[in-house]
Subunit: 242 residues, 2 copies
């Protein structure tokens, strides 16, 4: 790669940050418009270029547009949502908020994608996975984030439905026992990307200020002389974001 | 957000894909040059804007530049690497390849970042995490991929060191028992971003063709009439990438 190719123009940089900051978890803005195959393949290829522990590339993508299949997944969602609601029997205010939320767009989105993890790929010895086995699953998540950002750049919304039973997904999609479903994603064009995440807009939770999640040198230090300048820049950013 | 802001210019799109395709897991190209605080904060802020289950934002970032701390982490790596090598006692050819690989740049990189997962944040009821508890950790991985891509756009290399003992990280960095270290990252400027991943360059493994990881409607269908056009585009891509 030549040095010129190596560095980013201002507008290229802006493109990356624009995808990061304007990406949303889409549940309710899907419109009835097909995703062109070219765009879909670009998005999948971006996912496939994620980092993976020991270059194991342990991901698979099951593309779903069949209505019957979507309906089965939706049923799993409905059941899991019911269980979820019952967990809030002691917090009726939260429960009331929860039941009003739209949490998935399985049927309205053009394409669903189940992303899975295959621990046996290029195994049993996977370089770098020997101390922390979960790093295999972590690789799949990096692929999902690549997919999400690429979709955003293509103007396509993605919603991650996590209120599902893993066993249901296995049964519905014929996924082998040793392969683990990691995410069920709904992809489609949208009529808008909201300025803020839905859960912030409806008052469920606020975005934490950045300084709350930054530690210096060890967990217990949230301020430190040697990091004063970094800390000041973060606090300025936080002041401007409130 | 206005419709104009919503869509990406060609060059903005290219910026996103450039970050995705030219991002590398860096172990050996770090140079002795400080990361400016402004760039570091931009990268951390990109991470902080990742998706998270129930908007739980369960990540923390411990920034490390102290040499003694880095040395302790390096020692953990050395020990875990030894264990790893012994797992290959029955495959001497692979073992020989393995011992020659440079697998981390802990000391040479300017800043190390330990990224952790706090399951208690905004809990105990986290919306969307009730059926699949791992989605909390998955959120942290999405943040890591945001960080990685933003760093790439800033010309900064990132290496994920996974050959470490979780308990060592907890002890060295004073991380509470309920918080789980997810990744230990090494950040620094580099003298080059290689065209291909290191493990591909040294012949450890090849990139899988995309069509190998795509399934249509269910796990067992790798071809399907209703997906023929998609499949053809993927195969053409694969033909061009070999």
């Amino acid at each position: 790669m030549s040095p010129e190719l190596d560095s980013f123009t201002i507008s290229e940089k802006e493109g990356l940050y624009k995808a990061v900051f304007s990406r949303r978890d889409i549940r309710s803005h899907f419109v009835d418009k097909k995703i062109p195959d070219e765009a879909l393949v670009k998005i999948l290829n971006a996912a496939h270029h994620a980092p993976s522990v020991g270059y194991s590339q342990p991901w698979d993508f099951i593309l779903v547009k069949n209505k019957d299949t979507k309906l089965k997944v939706k049923n799993s969602f409905v059941q899991e949502r019911e269980k979820s609601i019952s967990l809030l029997d002691n917090d009726l205010e939260k429960q009331d908020k929860y039941v009003k939320l739209k949490l998935e767009g399985i049927l309205e989105s053009d394409i669903n994608i189940c992303v899975t993890y295959d621990p046996e790929r290029f195994g049993p010895f996977v370089l770098g996975r020997t101390s922390i086995p979960e790093t295999g699953e972590y690789s799949v998540c990096c692929a999902i984030q690549n997919l999400w950002l690429a979709a955003r750049a293509e103007g396509i919304g993605v919603g991650w439905v996590s209120i599902l039973a893993i066993d249901d997904l296995r049964n519905i999609l014929g996924i082998p026992k040793h392969v683990k479903p990691i995410a069920y994603l709904c992809l489609g064009y949208v009529n808008k990307f909201e300025d803020k995440p839905d859960l912030e807009r409806v008052g469920w939770l606020k975005r934490t200020i950045l300084s709350k999640v930054i530690h210096y040198e060890d967990w217990n230090s949230t301020e430190l002389n040697s990091w004063n300048n970094t800390n000041n820049i973060i606090k300025k950013l936080d002041d401007n974001s409130v």
